[in-house]
Symmetry: C2
Subunit: 194 residues, 2 copies
């Protein structure tokens, strides 16, 4: 997605060889017009799927997810992150390890918003090791629903998440794929036109 | 806002005399078409203000805030919540007490996304005691920017937040005002047509 690539080139800050800071348009400050285009692009890429729900995780996934939901006219659900839970009635729970924060969180979705008939499109802002996306997929599958696909705004394709998700059989669509972050520079992966 | 009132009547669950659960369309699952209408209504109510930024707080404020930002074509910023921070460089910090959780969080916004020229519209999903809204307003004022107004999706007007914010001189626009939650029933406050 060229618009997003331009934004990464203009405003992305390479902090280390695996950290790209995009807090001016995606993680802290958000560009609403760009988010609308992101939603439109996800809706186009998954137009062959009978999607009934969008699922994301708080907080940076919410804006791209609600724009995709608006485009597809289906409800959006955001999973909550908790340190650990005592009350587990009526909720779907999965553990998710964060390599960045080096901690395990529990993510939860209320059982009443997913059913076995659902075709769920998972949306997230970043894909690195795939922990969050796999956690969301397990939530969907716990209730017997189908993962219709996984839409990612920015994939760091030099980390294994994208490959692992595809090997597990999921359709992964990343709007921008970053092949390397070296010497303060972003190298994009070759684009596969779908 | 009648559409939102209908949704509260159809799907809101009164859990106690001060807790209304709206997790089917606002706090966990979100209705994107309703969120778009919410954004349109906030934009209408503050159309007299030269708004340059939208500010909200993670997580439930993000969807109504991004839709308002889209309508006004200005950037949206969401404040982060933290237990407590050690590194305080380059960020604006305020303490916010949550009566629901009975804990104090620090909320932060990066200094680089607000300047003294900004006219900031604060958006949040709920207004009860006003702690979050006051915290966001103090963030804006710390940097010398102007609070253009405060837009709330659901105000519990039997709690003091709305009155306190107005007494402090802010224009508060709540799309739905709830006067009481008694015996499992929602009583709406009289609507003031603006």
């Amino acid at each position: 997605m060229q618009l997003l690539k331009n934004k990464v080139m203009q405003e992305g800050i390479v902090l280390s060889d695996n950290v790209l800071k995009v807090d001016s348009f995606l993680n802290h400050q958000m560009d609403p017009v760009l988010m609308k285009e992101v939603g439109r692009e996800f809706s186009r890429r998954f137009s062959h799927e009978p999607i009934t729900k969008i699922l994301t995780i708080e907080s940076s996934g919410i804006a791209p997810a609600i724009m995709t939901a608006l485009e597809l006219e289906v409800p959006m659900i955001f999973a909550r992150k908790h340190k650990s839970l005592t009350l587990r009635d009526h909720i779907l729970v999965e553990k998710v390890y964060s390599f960045t924060k080096q901690e395990t969180n529990e993510i939860t979705v209320s059982k009443k918003f997913l059913s076995s008939d659902d075709h769920v499109l998972i949306i997230d802002d970043f894909l690195a090791n795939g922990e969050a996306a796999f956690g969301l997929a397990r939530i969907v599958e716990q209730i017997g629903a189908k993962v219709a696909g996984i839409g990612i705004v920015i994939e760091k394709s030099f980390q294994p998440g994208g490959r692992l998700l595809q090997e597990a059989g999921y359709q992964v669509e990343s709007l921008v794929r970053i092949a390397a972050l070296d010497n303060g520079c972003v190298t994009f992966a070759e684009e596969v036109i779908s």
